[in-house]
């Protein structure tokens, strides 16, 4: 008797997991299919294109290492977005928070590095990037918390300011006097984040994984995370329950901006070593759809960020061989988002029919 109950329970759970997989992977497969159709229209063989993409991004040893290295900063951005989005705050200013954090980190760390132990230099550099990223998020935070200003607008506006400020700082203030190219001083390779197990994979990957898992844990298991989710789920209920909504809002912006800034720091400390003028990888806005695809779940976000890493590293190589520009990755992601919306629509419809 109890056995049968358990098996039906297990069966139901299996079906539920299957449903979630269908909802997550179905759109991915459809996106590849439709991207393939577009490639056909461009007279490119989709199989050879995706062959190059995955051959480079997933199957070649150097490609895999590049993919995993790039995942570090991307995971930190995803963590930054998950904190904010789960609290109902649409922080779209991650690009500027990333760059401002990166620039200050790149300015300070090479100067400190010769005088302190490596670990201390790295720690200080990471802290600086997080602090400046958080500071850059504070203007929208206060405007939202105390004036009720829509943070979508303010964070996007702060992007323009932050990206320009980063450029100005690199060109005028933090310029490396030793080069003619406008860029900051370069952090010596031996002073950078250590690589993992004798490969070229930066330990930024570990930082990213730890951050996103910590954020996932915080949001789902702690009282603080629940308070944030209450604010995100129903702000009036948060007020009614006596939560300090303005303070929580500012905390969310600070954490989110700090993680985005840290992402910039990790990119500098692990990969690039310096910031060139006009550098803006615009990671944050590319990660936003992935975090939605993952439905703000940390584990799922790791998967999607990994996929995106493979695609973007692979696309760089495929671009050279097939003439399809790098940006085709964004086409795939765009189609993926549309497919996600379609699958959400159908699942909502199915739920309604079931109820």
């Amino acid at each position: 008797m109890t056995d049968t109950v358990q098996t039906t329970d297990a069966g139901q759970r299996l079906r539920a997991i299957g449903g979630v997989l269908m909802m997550s992977l179905g759109p991915v497969l459809m996106a590849f299919l439709l991207s393939g159709v577009i490639l056909l229209i461009l007279k490119v063989n989709p199989f050879s294109y995706y062959g190059y993409v995955f051959g480079r991004g997933l199957l070649s040893p150097t490609g895999v290492q590049a993919t995993l290295t790039r995942m570090g900063p991307l995971l930190l951005i995803a963590a930054a977005l998950i904190v904010a989005f789960r609290a109902g705050i649409w922080n779209l200013g991650g690009d500027a928070q990333f760059l401002v954090g990166a620039v200050f980190c790149a300015a300070a760390t090479p100067l400190m590095a010769p005088h302190v132990p490596i670990w201390l230099g790295l720690l200080a550099g990471a802290a600086i990037s997080a602090i400046f990223g958080a500071l850059w998020a504070l203007v929208p935070a206060f405007l939202r918390a105390y004036q009720g200003l829509n943070e979508i607008i303010t964070t996007l506006m702060m992007n323009f300011l932050g990206i320009s400020l980063a450029s100005v700082l690199v060109k005028l203030v933090f310029l490396d006097p030793a080069t003619t190219v406008p860029q900051t001083r370069t952090l010596a390779v031996e002073d950078r984040l250590p690589t993992l197990f004798g490969t070229t994979i930066s330990s930024g990957l570990i930082i990213g994984l730890v951050a996103i898992l910590a954020v996932h844990f915080m949001m789902t298991r702690t009282a603080f995370g629940l308070r944030l989710r209450v604010v995100g789920g129903n702000a009036s209920a948060a007020v009614h329950a006596g939560l300090a909504v303005p303070l929580l809002t500012i905390a969310v912006f600070a954490i989110s901006g700090g993680l985005a800034g840290l992402s910039g720091g990790v990119a500098i400390l692990g990969q690039y070593g310096n910031v060139r003028a006009d550098w803006n990888p615009a990671y944050s806005l590319s990660i936003v759809p992935l975090v939605f695809l993952a439905r703000f779940n940390g584990f799922a976000a790791i998967g999607f960020v990994g996929l995106f890493s493979i695609l973007s590293i692979g696309a760089e190589s495929a671009a050279r061989r097939t003439g399809v520009p790098n940006y085709f990755t964004l086409v795939t992601i765009g189609i993926l988002l549309v497919m996600l919306a379609v699958s959400e629509y159908y699942s909502a419809k199915r739920q309604k029919a079931g109820a």
Binding site: L226, R229, V230, N234, A237, H240, G242, L243
Partner: protein
């Protein structure tokens, strides 16, 4: 009694044209609630038909069925005496039914003419000059003075409504619904709209006027229908309305809206006031409290509530009851005056601090602010205790303690839920209310504010909720019971305060004759 009269007298000249719209036993159900329960109603040309009723009485549902937005689940709708469904808003327009809402539906950045030409096919060139002429003519016909070239945004709300009514006339409306059209207007604009209604009726239009304000209903209406909990509980037919003077008519309507029993008839049993020791120190004291932030500012509110006492707050909805609850619970700031709980001032404390002191607030906005609909029921039970032991330790969730608490509350409060993990938004209204009661009545409460606690519930849940209110008082808490149901207040409260426009119009001991006194205070007769 009155209902029968309404039907019996029909119209003196019964041979004239059938009503433009007639409802016969029209019923509309929503999940867990019957919004309209077999409504019979007639809307005739040349009549202003006033619909009265509290929030949630079913007026909006009725209007949305008239304007084609909703379809009835039962009953018949007759148009000009012939059965015909109003399938969509455009069908309603075809029939000649037009609706004017309390918020203007005109585009503020366009002129009135441009607004009037909207909605045509995109390839047609709008004939602005011709439309302006037609608009002027239509406006003159009903005695409205408007400039078709004026930009809508520059006009007052009252003028915009006049423009909307004019536009409706231009489109051939013969049936005009004014849905709480005076709610946002200044008194002058409201009076002007009232006169306009009379002129429209004189022109032979049918006007349906929905309002909360009894004086407007009596002044502008030819016929009044009162809705209560989805049912038509009665009304005043045109000849009845003509023979009564305004004050008598108002009293009659108050009686219909708030109680079915005769005001002078046998009195009901009152709660035993001897259990309340008025010589003891009051638990809660409001001293000349003013709160100006809300939509209805509170002015000079003063009362005391003793331990074990239920103080009822009566009044027509929207006279500051919600502001009062929010001011005591800490959700709205006090601008002047003091609030004393057990001898200590609490008016500067935060919501959380007041809760710790024993202030509990059962809100009527159960899904809007009471709960987070997407969260499991078990978490919603603890929404006001996040981070506290034993449910959280060191900031970490203790799932077993949280589940245990939920299971206990499910048994104690008889919450019917598929599981304690079910999102609270999926429960029925009665069970959501039980979740709120279970949350607010936990621990040691000193003051419990119930705001419209039985609103929207079925009979079994009403009884269960009222039992909880009595129990809260019996356990020694000072209870404030805000309700628009006079019967409920009379059955539960020891004293009843009547609120009118943000003030306390009077506080009445609940003894014989209380119903009459409260009715008088509510209709403003005692002023």
């Amino acid at each position: 009694m009155l209902d029968a009269q309404t039907r019996a007298t029909a119209r003196p000249s019964g041979t004239e044209a059938p009503p433009i719209v007639a409802f016969e036993g029209v019923t509309k159900r929503y999940p867990g609630i019957i919004a309209n329960d077999s409504i019979d109603m007639e809307f005739r040309a040349g009549e202003v038909h006033v619909l009265l009723g509290e929030n949630g009485a079913g007026k909006s549902t009725l209007v949305s069925m008239l304007s084609g937005l909703q379809q009835p689940d039962g009953g018949r709708i007759l148009i000009d005496g012939v059965e015909r469904p109003i399938g969509s808003p455009s069908e309603a327009l075809e029939i000649g039914i037009s609706t004017v809402f309390q918020h203007s539906m005109l585009v503020p950045s366009l002129t009135l003419v441009e607004n009037a030409t909207l909605g045509r096919k995109w390839w047609q060139k709008p004939d602005r000059a011709g439309t302006a002429e037609a608009m002027k003519a239509a406006a003159e016909r009903i005695g409205v003075n408007l400039d078709p070239m004026a930009v809508t945004g520059d006009l007052s709300l009252g003028e915009r409504q006049q423009a909307e009514i004019t536009r409706a006339l231009m489109r051939g409306a013969r049936f005009l619904i004014l849905d709480e059209a005076t709610a946002m207007l200044t008194p002058n604009d409201a009076a002007r709209l009232g006169e306009l209604m009379r002129r429209l009726a004189a022109e032979g239009m049918a006007v349906v006027f929905i309002t909360h304000k009894l004086n407007e209903a009596v002044a502008y209406g030819d016929r009044i229908s009162v809705l209560r909990l989805g049912k038509k509980v009665g009304g005043l037919a045109p000849d009845a309305l003509k023979t009564l003077d305004p004050q008598e008519a108002t009293n009659e309507v108050v009686r219909l809206m708030f109680g079915t029993r005769d005001a002078s008839g046998a009195e009901e049993a009152h709660p035993d006031s001897t259990t309340v020791d008025r010589a003891a120190k009051p638990t809660l004291e409001l001293l000349a409290v003013y709160a100006e932030a809300g939509r209805v500012p509170l002015q000079n509110i003063e009362f005391k509530v003793w331990p074990g006492e239920i103080l009822g707050i009566a009044g027509i909805d929207g006279n500051g009851q919600k502001q009062l609850a929010e001011t005591i619970s800490g959700q709205a700031p006090v601008s002047d005056g003091r609030i004393v709980l057990d001898g200590a001032y609490i008016d500067r404390m935060t919501i959380g601090q007041r809760r710790e002191k024993g202030v509990r607030y059962v809100t009527d906005d159960r899904l809007g602010e009471g709960t987070v609909g997407t969260f499991p029921m078990s978490i919603n039970l603890l929404l006001k205790e996040i981070g506290q032991a034993p449910y959280w330790r060191g900031g970490l969730e203790q799932p077993e303690a949280i589940r245990e608490n939920a299971r206990r509350k499910v048994t104690d409060f008889d919450i019917r839920t598929p599981s304690i993990d079910t999102p609270v938004g999926k429960l029925s209204g009665g069970n959501i209310q039980k979740v709120l009661l279970a949350r607010e009545l936990a621990g040691s409460s000193r003051v419990v504010i119930f705001e419209k606690p039985t609103y929207g519930l079925d009979l079994a849940n009403i009884a269960a909720t009222q039992m909880r209110i009595r129990e809260a008082a019996k356990s020694g808490a000072a209870v404030i019971l805000i309700s628009t149901e006079l019967d409920e207040l009379l059955a539960l409260s020891h004293r009843i305060a009547v609120m009118d426009q943000g003030r306390i119009a009077g506080i009445v001991e609940n003894e014989d004759g209380a119903r009459h006194t409260i009715g008088a205070l509510m209709s403003g007769a005692a002023k």
